[in-house]
C-alpha cells in the first residue's frame, strides 16, 4: 500500500532533486575551474616573460589592488 503511493512519487521527484544537485555542482565547478585556469595562464605568462618590475618600486600600505574580487 505504501509502495503504491510512495515509489511513484519518489521516482517522479528524484530526477528534479538530482537535477538541482547537479546544477548546484555545475554552478560551483564552472567558476572555480575558470579561476584555476586563469591563475595557471597568468602564472605561465609571468614565468615566461622576464621580470623587469623588480626595482623595489613598491606602493605604500594604502592601495593594494586586488583584481576583481
Amino acid at each position: 500500500m505504501l509502495n503504491d503511493k510512495f515509489l511513484p512519487t519518489l521516482c517522479t521527484k528524484m530526477p528534479l532533486f538530482v537535477e538541482k544537485i547537479l546544477f548546484v555542482i555545475a554552478c560551483l565547478t564552472v567558476p572555480i575551474a575558470w579561476g584555476i585556469i586563469v591563475n595557471w595562464v597568468f602564472h605561465r605568462l609571468k614565468t615566461a616573460t622576464p621580470n623587469e618590475d623588480d626595482s623595489g618600486n613598491e606602493s605604500q600600505d594604502e592601495p593594494v589592488i586586488e583584481y576583481y574580487i
Binding site: V24, E62, Y67, I69
Partner: protein, 294 residues
Amino acid sequence: MFGLLLPHELLLVVGCGFVVGGLSGVFGVGGSFLLVPILHVVLGIPIEMAVGSTACQVLGPSTAALLARKVTRLQLRLPLIITGGIIMGVLLGTLILSAAGQFGEVQINNRSVEASELLVLGTYLFMLVGIGSFSLYEVRRQLAGNPVSRGALARFKIPPVDTFSELGVGTLSIPILSMFGLLTGVTAGMLGISGALLLIPGLVYLLDIRSRKAILASLIVVWITSFLATISHAWHEHVDLGLTLALMFGGTIGARIGSELSSRLEGQSLRSGIGWLSLFAASLVLFQFYQLLK
C-alpha cells in the same frame, strides 16, 4: 539554467563584464555592486537572476586571486571567525530575497512593483550612497590633514575576546566579529555582491586592521561567501551559467587591463574613484526607481 540570453545579448554582457572588470581592476574593489544594477537596469535581466549569476561569477576571479597568494593557517583565523556570521547571513539574505519574490507585487504611487525588486534596489541605493559619501568624506579629511579615526568596533570588548597579533591589532571581540560577518552576509546574500565593498572599509575603519591584511582577509571571506551564495542561488534556480561565463570572460580581460592602469594612480585618487563609482551606481539605481514609480 542555461540560455537566458540571445547570442547578441551575451556579447553585450561580455562587454559589460569587460567595462566593469576594467573599473574593478583600476579601483581594486569588487565589480558585483556595479554589475547587478547594470545587468538589471541596462540589459533588463530579472533582478533575482542578475543577483544569482553575479554571485556565481565572483567565485572565478576570487579563486584566481586566492591561488595567486600564499595563505598561512594563522591568516585564516579572522576570516573563519567572520565566516561563522556570514554563513547565517547569506542564508538569511537569500531567504529574504526569496520571501520577497513570493510576496509578489506591492502598490506604490498607483503602480505595481515587485517586492523583491523594491527590496534589492532600496538596499543597493542605501549602501551605495553610504559607501560613496564616506569614501569622498574620508579622502577630504585626509587631504585636510585630519584623517578619520579608526577602530570604532575594536573598542567594544564583549567576551570572549582574542588577540590577533598576525593582523597587527590587539584584542578583538569574537561576538562583534560574528555580528559584523552576519550583516555582511545578509547584504551579500540579498544583493549578490561579494561583500568586499563592505568588508574592506569595515575591517580597515571599524576594526582598525591595516589595508593589506584587510584585503587578504576579505579575499578569503569573499571566496567563502560567494561559494555559499552560489549554492543557495543555484538551488533556487537564480543562476544562468551562460550569463556567468560571459561575465567571467569579459571581466577577467578587463580586470587585467584595469589593474595595469591602477599602478599609475595614487591611493587618494583610487579611494575617491571608488566613491564616485559608488555614487554612479547609486544614480543607476535611482534611475530604475524613477522608471518603476513614474
